[in-house]
Symmetry: C2
Subunit: 228 residues, 2 copies
Amino acid sequence: MRSPSQTFSYPYPHPAVTTDVVVFTVRNNRLAILLVKRANMPFAGSWALPGGFLDIDEDLDACAARELEEETGIAGLYLEQLYTFGATHRDPRERVISVTYYALVPQDALTAPRAASDASDVDWFDFDALPPLAFDHAAIVQMAHRRLVAKLDYSTIAFGFMPKTFTLSELQCVYETLLNQPLDKRNFRKRILAQDLIEETGRQRRNGKHRPAREYRARFAKRVEIIK
Amino acid sequence: MRSPSQTFSYPYPHPAVTTDVVVFTVRNNRLAILLVKRANMPFAGSWALPGGFLDIDEDLDACAARELEEETGIAGLYLEQLYTFGATHRDPRERVISVTYYALVPQDALTAPRAASDASDVDWFDFDALPPLAFDHAAIVQMAHRRLVAKLDYSTIAFGFMPKTFTLSELQCVYETLLNQPLDKRNFRKRILAQDLIEETGRQRRNGKHRPAREYRARFAKRVEIIK
DNA sequence: CCAAAAGTGTTCACCGTACACCCATGA
DNA sequence: TCATGGGTGTACGGTGAACACTTTTGG
């Protein structure tokens, strides 16, 4: 707003802008996502992705994080932008553009989410047993899943599901879940260790009446992103 | 937020939504992009990406295609969504969310674009000699370029720069330009032919006082079609 | 016959894959 | 001592990289 001539505002109807988030986790060796039950029209009573309307002076990423926390109580996740959905009739109320995100929750952080705000209920659903979803959220979920699986090959995205420390068997289990196929133990360990992405903590994990497992942690500080 | 009917409209200020497009081509063995000179405030006289405001009942993809054609006369490109930029102060006029796209133009289709609409001028610029850009368009261009280069490895995106028929040397030249490094001729030909993506037309190309080159065409339906 | 770009094969190093047995612990 | 998951090495085939000369044409 530098000069009067720059205070122009586009004199045509503006669409609403929302963010929606696909939150993945691995739970009971199944891929699962977080859904909220809508309290309000339209689609009241339907399950949907957590999300909501953008505040006029709020960054897109902040909106996604805020709506996620408001509706589910989950905060602190790293959100990555997925795609922007803007078909003209995707929302019966008015024209709505949805900027979508996805995020990963470590297995151990599965605190039960609590519903609030526009959500009357919140729960995790196994990815291959999802209920019918409101709006075009099924398409959003599909795209997020494709992105997640594609990224397994060329990024460290799978570590997003791991707690701070973990065993190689736990890590392999996550990969097997995401790829939906068994992996050879020796080859898996060789590959992971060769990438030099994890290091031993020096401690051991005793999980039963058998040999203890070595405990590892990720060696990289932040998420190592390889460009898509 | 509740309404008995479905004519509800979100009762808070809506942001404006625009689309912007990064159009790449390869010209004189250099990567180049298409820019327009802004006719209006803000940033009047600055170079910027072609783009503009979304109509309220227009799909996002259609908006990107329309604005591109209005400002540059280029139509018929396959546009792929890149990322959505929504920092709160990226436009001095008002809050603006920009859904960005990128597209590829074949080498031979380099008809001079013609300026119109909000653009007082249009031109191609070598990617490594871009002028200062309006808004956050430099960041958009950077992201588009990273995506383009990343996709060379695992997609057929390079064919988007090729005419309907081409020689292997021409194709190699495009790869070398995009990767900014020379490639071994024998390995390149072996790799391309092994992928079974192209086939001989049976004709030859005589381009000088030397051995003619075999002419090929893409075997798959190309995404980038025609320029107007 | 000369200049200039087109076209062609082999070797080698590395990596992903297939595959089976011993180890450490708690009960 | 047994049941259970943890941990280890080798051999093979396929793929990407390095590397130089012959062929075809126009002038």
